[in-house]
């Protein structure tokens, strides 16, 4: 019976936006009128929307979500209590492993064609990023105390629950306890509405045209044409643009709805295809994910390597850091060969990028003008598109089916 009630994936269907708007009108009116937040109402709205997305026919995901939140909440609370008196590395690493374990299992089970319905749910990786981040900040002593309810609100903030952007706990907490002034909030509302409408254009018009209408034909032609064919080239462009418009559109919805609720969730994209090198690309593509990996994986790993002087050459140390980071990112996307190759591809590209930057530093007389800049943008765009071609999985169909 319960299986017959349809559940709504966040932002996938226009009716979802109608529900969001109806639910948020009282909140918006109250915040404009009183310049205060309405925590209990926000909690009810959150529960309703979690039910809309994880109830009904998705009820197994709902159960998985509840179990997951209990697991993380207990784990973080125990670590925080422990950290007040002690600081052993072993306990820290064990806590991180336990925090990642549910995500690790959901990624591992499909490899063995093994399915447990109560462990995975839409958005589990994004919640894991949030939880791991809080544990690391306790470890570093940047965060000393917290309110458990703030943490749960942070995890379950419904506008970003399914696919980010990944917010930072201290930033979110500040906003949770401080309501914006009326004039700032009015600007934020305008910005939020604007973002949601750009999102409609990106996801429901351009993304729909590319993904639903064009890509199936392009894919079929590319599979017939083979790896080195102009059809494959066309598919590569089509898929890359689809990936951008679909995900950037979704991210605009998530940020826009956060804005309507008076939160400044960070943006995820900043004209990525205008990047002039791969390093710049990662500053502009899926920003909340790449800065998360930068701050909580790459920089920590490098700090350890540089401090312990494990590598004589700084170049070698830095390159090892890149491979560590991008391999992890590849595995995070899924335990499949083409995701891992995607990671290796980007690690290699960024090492080459660093080598090129060092070379350029030595040759200050090399030309640098708007033409070389344009060339750099075109080259970077194609390297990125090639990586997305790997990511799309079409090579798997081409070689193994």
């Amino acid at each position: 019976m319960i299986d017959q009630i349809p559940s709504l994936i966040p932002y996938a269907n226009p009716i979802y936006f109608a529900y969001v708007l109806i639910a948020l009108i009282p909140l918006i009116a109250y915040m404009l009128w009183k310049e205060k937040r309405l925590p209990w109402y926000q909690s009810i709205v959150t529960l309703v929307f979690l039910y809309i997305s994880f109830g009904g026919s998705s009820w197994k995901q709902g159960v998985a979500l509840i179990l997951y939140v209990v697991w993380q909440t207990v784990l973080v609370a125990l670590y925080q209590k422990y950290r007040q008196k002690h600081n052993q590395s072993g306990v820290f690493y064990a806590s991180i492993i336990l925090a990642i374990l549910p995500l690790f299992l959901t990624k591992l089970f499909p490899v063995f064609d093994f399915h447990i319905s109560f462990i995975g749910f839409l958005g589990i990786s994004y919640l894991t990023f949030k939880s791991v981040q809080v544990i690391i900040e306790f470890r570093d002593g940047v965060l000393k105390t917290y309110k458990i309810w703030d943490y749960i609100r942070f995890l379950l903030f419904f506008p970003t629950i399914s696919s980010g952007p990944i917010d930072r706990f201290r930033r979110f907490q500040k906003e949770l306890h401080n309501a914006p002034l009326r004039s700032d909030y009015a600007d934020l509302l305008k910005l939020g509405v604007h973002r949601i409408f750009i999102g409609f254009l990106y996801k429901f018009i351009i993304g729909y045209y590319l993904g639903t209408l064009a890509l199936p034909h392009l894919e079929k032609a590319a599979l017939d044409g083979g790896l080195l064919s102009w059809q494959m080239l066309l598919y590569m462009y089509g898929y890359s643009l689809f990936l951008f418009f679909d995900f950037a559109g979704y991210s605009l919805f998530a940020v826009g709805v956060s804005n309507l609720m008076g939160y400044k969730t960070p943006m995820n994209f900043n004209k990525p295809f205008a990047s002039w090198n791969i390093k710049e690309f990662w500053n502009r593509w899926h920003i909340s994910l790449s800065t998360w990996f930068r701050d909580y994986v790459y920089m920590r790993l490098m700090f350890l390597l540089v401090k312990k002087k494990l590598f004589k050459s700084r170049v070698v140390a830095s390159n090892i850091g890149y491979f560590g980071l991008f391999l992890l990112m590849g595995f995070w996307h899924g335990f499949t060969w083409f995701y891992i190759l995607y990671g290796v591809f980007h690690a290699t590209a960024i090492c080459v990028n660093d080598w090129w930057l060092r070379l350029k530093k030595k040759h200050k007389n090399w030309p640098s003008n708007k033409w070389t800049h344009a060339l750099a943008v075109v080259v970077t765009f194609h390297v990125v598109c090639a990586s997305f071609l790997i990511f799309s999985g079409i090579l798997d169909k081409l070689f193994f089916n």
């Binding site: 690391i136 900040e137 570093d140 002593g141 940047v142 390093k279 930068r294 701050d295 909580y296 790459y298 920089m299 920590r300 490098m302 700090f303 540089v306 401090k307 700084r314 830095s318 850091g321 930057l357 530093k361």
Partner: protein, 75 residues
């Protein structure tokens, strides 16, 4: 302390930063995450001031002047 910090920045980046202490090091491509880590390690070993990596924010480290101000506030 200013002198030590400036020489650390110069040693790590290989760039002359004394002419313009408000130069945006990230925007100019002089500093990246790896350079930042090297600076944090040097600050720890030469000045004995520890900056937790998770507390690092690019906004507070953008220019030589900002680095000096941030490290002073941590000392």
């Amino acid at each position: 302390m200013e002198e030590t910090l400036l020489s650390i920045i110069e040693e790590v980046t290989g760039a002359d930063v004394r002419d313009d202490l408000d130069l945006d090091l990230y925007e100019e491509g002089i500093l990246d995450s790896f350079g930042t880590v090297q600076i944090l390690v040097e600050i720890d070993s030469q000045l004995g001031i520890q900056v937790p990596v998770s507390d690092f924010e690019r906004e507070e480290w953008r220019t030589p002047n900002k680095i000096i101000a941030t490290v002073k506030s941590l000392a």
